[in-house]
Amino acid sequence: MFRPVLSKLFLGLLMGVTLASEPASAEVNDAALMSARPAKLLSEYGLFSDAAHQAPAEGVLPYTLINPLFTDYAHKFRFVYVPKGRKARYDNTEVMRFPVGTVLVKTFAYPADFRVPEENIQIIETRLLIHQERGWNAWAYVWDDAQGDAVLKVAGKTLPVSWIDEAGAEQSTNYVVPNKNQCKGCHTFDKAFTPIGPKARNLNRDFKYASGSANQLDHWASLGLLQGAPASAEAPKAPDVTDAGASLDGRARAYLDINCAHCHRLEGPASTSGLFLTAGEDNKTTWGYKKRPVAAGRGSGGLAYDIMPGEPDNSILVYRLNSVDPGVMMPEVGRTIVHDEGVALLKEWIASIE
């Protein structure tokens, strides 16, 4: 379930689009995107030529990440739109410096059966991160049952979802669409609203474009969408957390990096904890090694340290990732069920730490 099936999924959808009888109008509505008032319907932005099949409009580029943030096993479709003539500036460590007018689009969906992920996909929500003159703004659009369009939800929503997992077992949960403030709960960097995912180390992988497979950083640069980027071979690259051939330490730190470090860093919402989980953090205590909890309350589970070397079951980190109790669980938002594979990875890692 860890394995990204998105590119495959996307290709499947593209095929769906080519079969569709008439491509809808496919022009991005920049004025709607730059308006202080969000559009009521997702379709008003013109980001898709066929939204129900997640086929993007012209100029809206699909992308994927080496390691996705875990969101209740939802499958995700990601797109970036940069207005014609503008460029993002490359950053080696943090998120690309996207120009005003940029939109990052993320759609969350559940195939009815994860063993055939291209079929019977229920689209739940599409989140937009829009870079407006006054900074980034976030809106969530929840899809109607007919999958015709998605409606703005400012205050969030809880939706029952169910699927059959890759092992054939029935799964279900109450999926939580975040409200605007909860979006900010993770997307804050030095008090400013900021994207999380599109960092060089997480984008540096191939993607199957309609024109053929290419490295995303190279492709973005060749499209003129990104300036200042080194050749992808020179750019940092996170290990794939599912790649058993990569180092355990690298994978575990990459997992923490994408799932935790947007909050757990000095510039993030969990700065107060002093537990910083960016992949580059090299102070042992700071990344949790025998670090005592500060304001964990019952989140400590009665344990003394965030990471107790060699003892995953005596580590607060594992305890909190393994919980769905709102007073205990981490992350605080974005999941309602336990990410078993993630917990297994971290347990294996902590067991290996001396």
């Binding site: 400012v154 969030g156 929503k157 409200n179 205590t285 304001a295 019952r298 400590s300 669980m329 938002v333």
Partner: protein, 411 residues
């Protein structure tokens, strides 16, 4: 959602009666179905400076609330009249999260959150006035950690509030600066009021009773803001803190002995005066170093420049708990004195001759107050050990009182 509620949320009318927000609007919310969405929507869409009024009644929430618009007042009809219940909360690690400055929360109650009650993170200017946060089943390890929880904030005012049942601290101000906690009541928490890793805090005219520990002033290592200093704790009533410690182990408050009145750990420039202390079974006032191992070269684990004076002492130390029972009572005998300093100092010289004047511990309490300096460091240095110093007069002296904390929202 009920039509009535939609109409209510949409009812924006100008309020001429609120001088602080003369140009703001008032948004009225009433309890009922869909109130989670109605209130959250109001909290997101309100114009800066607006007042959100919550009518009397009981509000049930299944998820958290959050406020990220500047200068918003959320006002109920009274701490027993407007009750925000989170008994059925299934998501979110606090009841209400505030991330915008100028917030004022007033005259309402937050009950039974699985996590923290109300948290304010990284804000400039936040006021809690006549707010109650309570876990209604009483002390329980499964209660949320903090009741009122401003952190990394500045200009924090907590006035006339009541917090009961927190499994860590009822009123907890962490990594903040310019703080007033007054006229409030902390009861049945592990720590009643805790000021941690903070600068410039005045804690006065509060009642802390039936907690494990009444009022704590702490500084912890490995945090973005360390070196807690400039804290005044005065005119508080700190009596009968007699609830067994129910904090989950691992947290530092889990080590607080039952019956600790006021505890100062690893801070400098702390003044403790004119408090009324009695029936605290471990001790009334405890001055100690951070007791655990740490690896943070910038951290100072000692209490320094502490001035304790003119407190009124009743019965104390008659049934010590935890470290006071295991380490202190064997040295001092029973009852444990009303004021205890562990005598942990920085280095050899200080162990024998006392800390430098600017770091000294001064005690000037009413005649008859019992005291012990445990001389822990001297005891470790000397092969034959050191006995405690019970002579309170050895610590006589005074430090000028710092100017009161002055907050922009409290003029």
């Amino acid at each position: 959602m009920k039509k009535r509620l939609l109409a209510l949320c949409a009812t924006f009318f100008v309020a001429f009666s609120v001088p602080a927000f003369a140009q703001g609007t008032v948004i009225s919310i009433e309890p009922g179905d869909g109130v989670q969405e109605a209130l959250q929507e109001a909290l997101i869409l309100a114009e800066p400076g607006s007042v959100i009024e919550l009518a009397a009644g009981r509000y049930d929430f299944t998820g958290p609330l959050s406020l990220d618009i500047a200068n918003i007042t959320v006002r109920g009809a009274g701490m027993n009249e407007t009750v925000l219940s989170f008994t059925n909360q299934t998501t979110g690690s606090e009841g209400l999260l505030i991330t915008a400055g100028g917030a004022r929360i007033e005259s309402l109650a937050v009950e039974d959150t699985p996590g923290d009650g109300i948290k304010a993170k990284g804000v400039d200017t936040v006021t809690f006035k006549d707010v109650r946060v309570e876990w209604t089943r009483g002390p329980h390890a499964e209660n949320g950690a903090y009741g009122l929880y401003p952190v990394e904030s500045k200009n924090v005012l907590i006035d006339g509030c009541v917090v009961k049942g927190a499994s860590d601290a009822g009123i907890y101000v962490g990594q903040s600066q310019q703080i007033i906690v007054r006229n409030s009541r902390a009861e049945l928490n592990v720590a009643g009021i805790e000021i941690e890793n903070s600068y410039f805090a005045d804690v006065y005219d509060n009642v802390a009773t039936h907690n494990t520990g009444g009022i704590l002033v702490f500084d912890l290592p490995n945090l973005p803001q360390m070196g807690g200093h400039s804290v005044k704790v005065f005119r508080n009533t700190v009596v009968a803190n007699d609830t067994p410690n129910f904090a989950p182990p691992g947290n530092v408050v889990a080590t607080v002995p039952m019956g600790t009145g006021i505890m100062i750990m690893a801070n400098r420039e702390v003044e403790v005066f004119e408090n009324d202390l009695s029936d605290n079974a471990s001790t009334n006032i405890l001055l100690v170093a951070y007791p655990r191992d740490y690896n943070d070269p910038t951290y100072n684990p000692l209490p320094r420049a502490v001035y304790v004076h003119d407190n009124k002492h009743g019965r104390a130390g008659f049934a010590p708990d935890k470290a006071v029972k295991d380490i202190i009572a064997p040295i001092t005998g029973l009852p444990v004195p009303q004021v205890v300093w562990d005598g942990a100092v920085d280095g050899f010289w200080s162990a024998f001759f006392g800390p430098d004047a600017e770091d000294a511990i001064y005690i000037r309490e009413p005649m008859g107050t019992t005291f012990a300096n445990l001389q822990m460091v001297k005891d470790m240095i000397l092969p034959w050990g050191a006995s405690p110093d019970f002579d309170i007069d050895d610590y006589d002296g005074s430090v000028p009182s710092r100017e009161p904390v002055s907050l922009p929202q409290d003029q």
